[in-house]
């Protein structure tokens, strides 16, 4: 007789000792953290700082940054807020890839070499790992990231079928971390391109059956700096910490613009 089975949880790769007491029993190891620093008040050029730290199997890159900031060098500057992958403040370039520091476990990286941490690329650096997000949010504002509905507001909520909701489910997950936009080589050159994040958030409303302004958003993204600058490099999809299929969403917006004008 067949029956539903649940696959066994994979064994943890962190070796928790058989005996011991709490945190002390978690395996510890040495990591070297190499951070690209920039402080216009101290030096004209950026420089690299290295610290060797004793960290634990449960620690993330964010914990290593905290350890430096709290115990070694208080001048190290970075953004973080929730520390749990929800607020989108701490996207950074870790070992050459854009990720959230709070979702990247040290044990998953190659700890035999220094772990490099840099600010995300393509946006002006203000200090250390903090960039000016204003160009990023400017593009976000331009696609009108709010529900626009011309019919009078109903007394209860606006109903939507599960199928209609599913149509844009993927792009509702965005936390505006900018990992995608700042991984895009087209954005790097002159920062004029709207960028994947703006398109993802336009997609979220364009394909929402309750929204009436899809056409306006398609018109905005039909700009010469809009979706047509996408070269389907897939850097954005690889970078997204929420696992959003960013390139696919961009492609769906392109198709919608073409079908609209036919």
């Amino acid at each position: 007789m067949s029956t539903a089975t649940v696959e066994n949880e994979p064994a943890s790769t962190v070796d928790l000792g058989e005996s011991g007491d709490g945190a002390g029993a978690i395996e510890s190891f040495e990591v070297t953290l190499k951070v690209r620093r920039y402080d216009p008040e101290r030096a004209e050029d950026a420089w690299w700082d290295e610290w060797t730290l004793t960290m634990y199997g449960t620690d993330r890159v964010l914990d290593a940054l905290h350890k430096v900031k709290w115990e070694i060098d208080g001048s190290l500057t970075f953004r973080r807020s929730c520390a749990h992958g929800i607020c989108g403040s701490d996207a950074m370039r870790i070992n050459g890839r854009n990720r959230l520091a709070c979702k990247t476990l040290l044990k998953d990286l190659d700890t035999s070499k220094p772990i490099t941490v840099e600010a995300i690329k393509g946006l002006p650096i203000e200090k250390d790992l903090i960039v000016d997000m204003e160009p990023f949010f400017q593009s976000y504002r331009e696609i009108m990231p709010f529900l626009i509905n011309n019919s009078p507001a109903p007394t209860a909520e606006r109903l939507q079928s599960p199928e209609d909701r599913e149509r844009f489910d993927d792009t509702t997950k965005c936390i505006l971390c900018a990992a995608c936009t700042s991984s895009c080589p087209v954005f790097w050159t002159d920062g004029q391109y709207f960028g994947p994040a703006a398109i993802v958030n336009a997609h979220r409303f364009i394909f929402d059956s309750r929204d009436d302004a899809g056409d306006m958003r398609l018109e905005v993204l039909n700009d010469k700096e809009g979706v047509w600058r996408c070269r389907t490099t897939f850097n954005c999809t690889d970078a997204c910490p929420r696992g959003i299929e960013v390139t696919k969403a961009i492609q769906e917006v392109k198709t919608a613009i073409i079908t609209r004008s036919l």
Binding site: E134, Q138, E219, D223, E225, W228, R229, I257, S261
Partner: protein, 169 residues
Amino acid sequence: MATQANPEAVLPAQGIEAPRSGRIDPKYLRSRTSRSNFEMMAWVFMRVSGAALVVLIFVHLWVNLMVGDGIHQIDFSFVAGKWANPVWQFWDLTMLWLAMLHGTNGMRTIINDYAEKDSTRAWLKAILYLSAAVIIILGTMVIFTFEPCLTDEAGNLLEGVAPEFCHGV
């Protein structure tokens, strides 16, 4: 008591700035927007011409290199023979135009992607469009004005150069 008319208060919207106006540093504003379908058409053209080029180039290579004597047959008279046929004239003309427009638009994209300064961008594009125009015009003229039966000053066919069919004329 008569109320003092305050012209600025008559239409409150006049006194209130549009949302966000002036709050965004002009350096962050997009340089200029275009409300045309040009980029969309260019994008579609790349895909359509690409698909056409697969067929055009494959048949071109097959006929030149695989059929008959293959690569050894290619000489002046082979080309002359092909261009005596309107089908091949049309084929090569289409291939020339599509490949040139496709390649030029591809290079335009690359320049847009890589040039950081507007002046560099403008110069590179000017050179690109000029060279594309020269090649398209020259190529088109060659296909239509091609003279297969070359003669010397006395009006005799050039031996060894003119293809077989010239002797019958």
